[in-house]
Symmetry: C2
Subunit: 139 residues, 2 copies
């Protein structure tokens, strides 16, 4: 199959496939006329890459999976190097999720505090005080 069909069957674009090739993830045979030629194994590789990218893996992280498939293994994650990437990713995800949760907590607290002060200001409070402290201005 040629690049257009591979792109369509993998749910991506020809540009993306050529980009993968430029990164050394995909290796195409060439027909006599110079066209790239792919087989079902290539389709599996591309699908593996796409799946991992959907998970938020960046391209370099998909390389072990692709290498694993190219080595003839039945799945991209049949190799130790792929499992190592999985594990590293899990750690990164846990860290990131934790950070986001603490940010969420902080932002939530800020919102609650700001809403409180706003409601304390409205029901008869003073106008918004529109002057700064002018004493200590130029350092």
């Amino acid at each position: 199959m040629r690049i257009g069909e591979l792109a369509e069957r993998a749910g991506t674009t020809t540009r993306t496939l050529r980009y993968y090739e430029s990164r050394g993830l995909l290796q195409a045979r060439r027909a006599e006329n110079g066209y790239r030629t792919y087989d079902e194994g290539d389709l599996r590789m591309v699908r593996q890459i796409r799946t991992l990218q959907d998970f938020g893996f960046d391209l370099e992280e998909t390389r072990p999976f692709v290498d694993c498939l190219r080595a003839g293994h039945p799945a991209g994650d049949s190799c130790p190097a792929s499992l190592a990437v999985y594990r590293r990713k899990l750690g990164e995800l846990d860290t990131l999720i934790g950070q986001l949760q603490s940010v969420r907590t902080e932002v939530g607290a800020q919102l609650a505090r700001a809403e409180l002060e706003a409601s304390a200001e409205v029901p008869g409070g003073p106008e918004p005080r529109c002057e700064l402290n002018r004493e200590d201005e130029d350092r």
Copy 2:
């Protein structure tokens, strides 16, 4: 104070402050010699921006907070527009955290499955099968 001191006191760089100015977030007065001049209010604005960026807000999202400070309010989140940004951000965070958690679950499941198959392969299993199905190759 001049740009170098502001940068230092805000924990950032002069390049960053000029960038903020180019984005319209910061407005510097000019001394006779052309140097930018800042006051304590500017320092508060920069610190507000930095705090929000640490939370993962992008620059545009900090604009309402800066505008609020410039309008003379005591805090950057004393204005409704800022509260709206807080709320929107909370929603985005919840969505993102949820997505990451489901990814985490999926990756964890993949890892567990792959580890199982690997352990089923090792203790006397066959060599890694290094041939692909060749029948249905060229589509």
